[in-house]
């Protein structure tokens, strides 16, 4: 009984204003005047400034091609791989400038884990997929790995489905299971931030529901940023929502606020489905 009431109160609290766990920073990820170009001619992100709070779920919404993925990929510097990119402005994560020359990209990527739009399991066993990030970090202790596999798969709500075939190829999983496997894989080595790029775009409603449930659970531990085209999803899972349009961040606010009374007309038109 007490449990239910406790949950109710939390939910009510969420209704009014996003709760921030004790001591969590409101500007955990701090983006300042950030601009990004793939080619010199086309500016994909234009002077973005935003603060993303710690241990909350922030969703990025906006029409296709507005630069959501690009921004997300900047947080763990995946864009480094693309030749010819240029950027201006700064991004600080937990007070640290991520474009700092002295920063090791590998350790950054270990902390800021990205889950891609298309699940890309490695052609290895389920077990090896989950522990991949530990293996590359040189942690091969069997007992540790076993434990991590179980906690991560439980955390990704996949354990019950695969516990009997951990050593089968991950390529035999269904699309939804693969997506959850990539979440398990991402949370295995205790990251700080999870970047999810349309994690449910290829999934059926049941798998989507499972992943949404998961995101709500994950936010106690991680800072989550999710890109989504599904407005309901954004309202269901996120505390903060940022609306992007043509490379600019138009508006960012508590999710309830944005969906109830957006301050910009464009945002309103987008979320009410009048364009896009």
């Amino acid at each position: 009984m007490t449990n239910t009431t406790a949950e109710n109160t939390t939910e009510e609290a969420v209704e009014t204003a996003p709760t921030t766990p004790e001591g969590a920073k409101l500007d955990y990820i701090k983006v300042e005047d950030f601009s990004f170009n793939y080619t010199p001619e086309v500016r994909v992100l234009d002077k973005i400034t935003m603060d993303i709070p710690e241990k909350q779920v922030t969703s990025f919404i906006g029409p296709s091609g507005c630069g959501k993925t690009t921004l997300l990929r900047n947080f763990n510097r995946m864009n480094d791989l693309i030749p010819g990119i240029t950027h201006e402005g700064t991004i600080h994560i937990d007070g640290q400038e991520i474009f700092d020359k002295k920063l090791e990209v590998i350790s950054l990527r270990k902390r800021i884990r990205m889950i891609f739009q298309k699940a890309n399991p490695f052609p290895k066993s389920i077990y090896e997929n989950v522990v991949y990030s530990l293996r590359v970090a040189g942690r091969n202790n069997k007992a540790l790995l076993d434990e991590v596999v179980e906690t991560s798969l439980r955390g990704a709500a996949l354990w019950d489905e695969v516990k009997d075939r951990l050593h089968d190829s991950a390529l035999g999983l269904s699309g939804g299971q693969m997506q959850r496997l990539s979440i398990a894989h991402a949370i295995a080595n205790q990251p700080e931030v999870l970047l999810m790029d349309e994690p449910c775009s290829a999934l059926d409603p049941i798998a989507t529901a499972k992943i949404e449930e998961l995101i709500c659970k994950l936010k106690n531990k991680f800072t989550v940023i999710i890109v989504t085209h599904n407005m309901q999803q954004a309202t269901r899972v996120s505390d903060q929502t940022a609306y992007f349009y043509l490379g600019k961040m138009i508006e960012m606010n508590a999710t309830q606020e944005i969906f109830r009374n957006p301050s910009c007309e464009e945002t309103e038109r987008y979320i009410s489905g009048k364009f896009g």
Partner: protein, 556 residues
Amino acid sequence: MTPFENSKSSKKSSGRGEPMVWFTGMWLSFGMLMIIVLLSIIVKNGFSTFWPSPVLQIELVEGSEAGLRGSSKLAGDIRKEQIRTTASETGEAVPEIQLFIGNREAYNTGFRFVMESDIKSRDFPEGIMRAERLEYGDMIGYPARLELADGSTIKSTDDSFASTLHDIVKEGNKRRHEIEHIEKDQIGAINRSMESIKMKRRGWESEEDIPEKTQKEMEEKQAELQADYEELASEAKTLRELQSANTLHYLLPTDGERSVPTGSIVDYYYPNQLNLFQRTLRFFKRVGSFVKEDPREANTEGGIFPAIFGTFVMTLLMSVAVVPFGVLAAIYLREYAKQGPIVRSVRIAVNNLAGVPSIVFGVFGLGFFVYFMGGSIDSLFFSERLPTPTFGTGGVIWASLTLALMTVPVVIVSTEEALVAVPRGVREASLAAGASKWQTIQRIVLPASLPGIITGLILAMARGAGEVAPLMLVGVVKLAPTLPLDTIAPFIHLERKFMHLGFHIYDLGFQSPDSEAAKPMVFATTLLLIGLVIALNAFAIIIRERLRRKYKTSAF
């Protein structure tokens, strides 16, 4: 429209391309036909070499040119039946047969053409014997008697003849192996010890520098070895004498009596007494000994085991060298190098390298590997043996490296293709997990491109195993006394010269004194080379399919 009509109309529309279908299909079938004809010629000739055909005896008409030694009889197995157009103005077509008549020491030729019109009568005499000998090829004749060492004689009509001959020949074969063992292994070991003492001596600046004690030790050791050697040599000599103690006397089908020491008979049989089953058995026995045994009589007789083994070892060494070389080069080219005009031109150059004539690689191998690298190794590590080269002369390692160099473009190209085919998403997923670039290549990209790499290896092996021209310059020999791999430390003798099936074919067919006699061997060797290449490829393909199944890319 009914479904029936529908299917009809769709058939019609696809029929529009029909002339091209036929045209392109024709070229494919033409190519296939050529290959099938080639293969069947090789298979037929290769296998018929081992088939124990019956021996035909013919009676010639008086004054026939085909007669030998004034006799009107001739016996042998039919090798060919053909129609020859005579050189005369009329240009008559004359049917004739070619007989393999054996008994080279008596006839000085192995084959005889006989015109059909010269044949008075033919029969297949039951009692004719065919024996494989250590010298002069096969004997074909009628056994007369056995003269044994103890002076006794057994006539071929005696009851005990068959069993005695069988036992004596068997014993002779056993003794021959013994002699071989003594001469090759035991005396060989003594020679090696002698050699090493000699080398040790040379290690000192001059004889005077050698400490007295060592000097004495070495001399003692040498004397000991010399004594061992003499003992073994005399043992071998006694055995050799025993080999020629008994003789088999036989009548030639033409005329006269001859004899052969039983010790030099490898095998014998009565070709006209065999039934189909016995023939088949004998066929397999001969195939078996061809594969297992060493060559004899300038390679035209006996087996080709050293050539099979040499080809095999060389191809394996080549694979071991070419895969890392090609794969690493491809990784740099595709994964690390900045894609641009330089990389593009390197790629074009690599592709063109595949078109350089193989003999050019042979010349390069001789100059770079044999003379430069081999010479340097010799002067650094084997200087005491100079001027006799150790590595500074052709050898299996240099041959393998030369072929590896020749086939490396194939591996680079297919590895690059395989690397490109690894989806970007998987790489990004690995990098996003905190893996470094090399970790990603090593753990994700390489395993996924292994099937492609193996495809490259298969192509490289197929090209390398059949190559002859460059090998002639860098280590292949007509007859190698030793194998590149054996039981004597250090087991792998990379510096040794070796025999090779491809070169063996060339040597038999075009360098041997009696190319007609060697022809069957040429086909049989060709068949074996093809078989070996197919076997190696099949092995690689099986591995590749396994890996494909393991690393099949996501269906999602």
